[in-house]
């Protein structure tokens, strides 16, 4: 069983790496921000499989924390993106 789970960890980790590469290349900022969302699913699946394979029960708590907080970076990005920096009085972006 452990071998199967370890192989599954490797496979999903490889998928995660490929996805990260493709997302981080862009072209837009919105594409790049999806990286945290990708880790919110693929990374958590890896973590859960890893914790079960190596019998580290606390991995579930780490996964719970990640699942709760992985969205936050996207929200921070969206808030800045939508407010167009007008609210805080700093200069607006050039590409508007």
């Amino acid at each position: 069983m452990t071998e199967f789970l370890t192989v599954a960890v490797g496979f999903i980790l490889a998928m995660l790496a490929l996805g990260l590469l493709s997302i981080l290349r862009g072209p837009g900022d919105a594409d790049r921000v999806m990286a945290t969302q990708l880790i919110g699913t693929g990374g958590i699946a890896t973590l859960l499989l890893l914790g079960t394979a190596a019998s580290i029960p606390a991995a579930i708590d780490v996964a719970l924390t990640l699942a709760l907080l992985a969205t936050f970076t996207s929200i921070a990005f969206v808030k800045k993106g939508l407010s167009r920096f007008a609210a805080d009085g700093t200069a607006s972006t050039e590409d508007e």
Binding site: A45, A70, S74
Partner: protein
């Protein structure tokens, strides 16, 4: 009994891995932000759900099982809301570009 559990784990985790593969292919092949977002939030969340389903028979206690299901529900909630937010930001950015 143990064999039945292991078979269920292997089947569900393999199916989950397949959906992660599908999601990654989508990320690599789809042309624009919105379609890639679609691949990411739907296929990968299904993959996570299947992995959780596969790990449930291996859970040490009822509490661990509940936490596993909770993780998947949190993932679903995050996928459903954040994909909308990112998509809106992407469209907003395109209009302004």
């Amino acid at each position: 009994m143990s064999l039945a559990r292991d078979v269920m784990t292997i089947a569900a985790v393999s199916a989950g891995a397949f959906f992660f593969l599908a999601g990654t292919v989508g990320l690599l092949r789809f042309p624009d932000t919105l379609t890639r977002l679609h691949a990411l939030t739907k296929a990968d969340n299904l993959g996570l759900g299947l992995v959780v389903l596969g790990l449930l028979p291996q859970a040490a206690s009822l509490r661990d099982g509940l936490k596993l299901v909770g993780i998947w529900l949190l993932g679903l909630l995050a996928g459903a809301t954040v994909s909308q937010l990112i998509a809106r930001a992407a469209r907003h950015g395109q209009l302004n570009r």
